[in-house]
Point group: C2
Chain length 216, copies 2
């Protein structure tokens, strides 16, 4: 079994989104060339990505939109319901909660934890915002697949340690801090500051501001 790269998985996710659009427009077949058109992708890349998982296309014809979509759903495991625990009911938490795409991908926020007493006890849709101190209980009683860490940076480390201690095996971390590695725990970071800092670097490179450092 060949190791599948993160980039391949990310692109599958992208193809999936595109195929949905195609399906809505009633398109039956699609070529790797068409699939590659959006984004920085080449037809060969599309074919290679898909070929890791099977032979989904037909020579001369391309891929059947509906079948390929189904296959990608299978590969990514989108069919299986995935329960999310949202930790932090601030602006970011609210943004994530109202992110419609999640439901499409079988991702469901089933519990919310928060520190601020003013928010505890309220409901977002039908999900109760509970006290962060109930963390262990929530994890013991609900089948949580992924904990989503949307708390301020200063509490992120502590809360992540509590989550791991309580038995969480997968964390998506939105705090701008690199959490320490734990055996058997998948931690994925979404660091928005890094996105911005990369952009300012690109901006700077683009406009020819002379550099004091040597670049060779």
């Amino acid at each position: 079994m060949v190791k599948i790269s993160e980039s391949t998985i990310g692109r599958l996710s992208h193809y999936y989104r595109f195929l949905e659009e195609m399906e809505e427009n009633g398109i039956i077949n699609i070529s790797s060339k068409k699939l590659a058109e959006r984004g920085n992708i080449t037809p060969a890349k599309v074919r290679k990505d898909l070929s890791y998982f099977g032979n989904f296309g037909r020579r001369g014809l391309g891929y059947n939109v509906i079948d390929l979509k189904k296959s990608i759903i299978q590969i990514l495991g989108i069919t299986e319901r995935c329960n999310l625990l949202l930790v932090g009911a601030g602006n970011l938490g609210a943004a994530l909660f109202s992110f419609r795409e999640f439901k499409k991908a079988s991702l469901h926020i089933v519990a919310i934890l928060e520190k601020n007493p003013a928010k505890i006890g309220r409901y977002w849709e039908d999900v109760l915002i509970r006290d962060i101190r109930d963390l262990q209980e929530v994890i013991d009683t609900m089948k949580i697949d992924i904990a989503v860490l949307a708390v301020p940076v200063k509490s992120a480390f502590l809360v992540s340690e509590q989550l791991i201690l309580a038995g969480v095996k997968t964390i998506l971390n939105f705090a701008p801090i690199k959490l320490p590695h734990h055996e058997g725990v998948i931690i994925r970071d979404v660091n928005l500051t890094i996105e911005f800092e990369s952009l300012t670097y690109l901006l700077r490179k683009q406009s020819n501001i002379p550099r004091k450092q040597k670049f060779y």
Copy 2:
């Protein structure tokens, strides 16, 4: 001049954050080993990353925390003020607006555009929420470096085209849609659904759910 990879830039951003922490703790020197400790990074990678931009370390001693931090600030262009235009004053917009890290990185939201009349005219701190129809005027009168697209997916394409038409050269897109490429325009996507879908894939791979597809 060697091409610097995105990953290197992303890691610089991470070192920067770590160095700030070290500085606060009064640490003077740091080795590549220590710098690598957090995250999936090896000491050699740290040294290579830094070596693209200069010789910042001292053999036998490591790097001076304060000096290295200053050098990274230089490289990433964090010193120069960067003006952001926030498009969309929903939950995500609010989350980004209140993201403290931005100010540290000289990123300033100087204008907010929104479609919903109920929100137009309000202030977030001292920034007025303006009508999206003022887009051209805002871009003409303020020096906007990056437009941050935080609108619902259904309006993302249209708004992005308007932004580019109005002269915006750099967009950070949070909508789960791949925007078409335009010559001379940098578009960077932050697609949260992809992050989640990659996680569910990893989850699935970890727990040995048998696969119907062939994986070879």
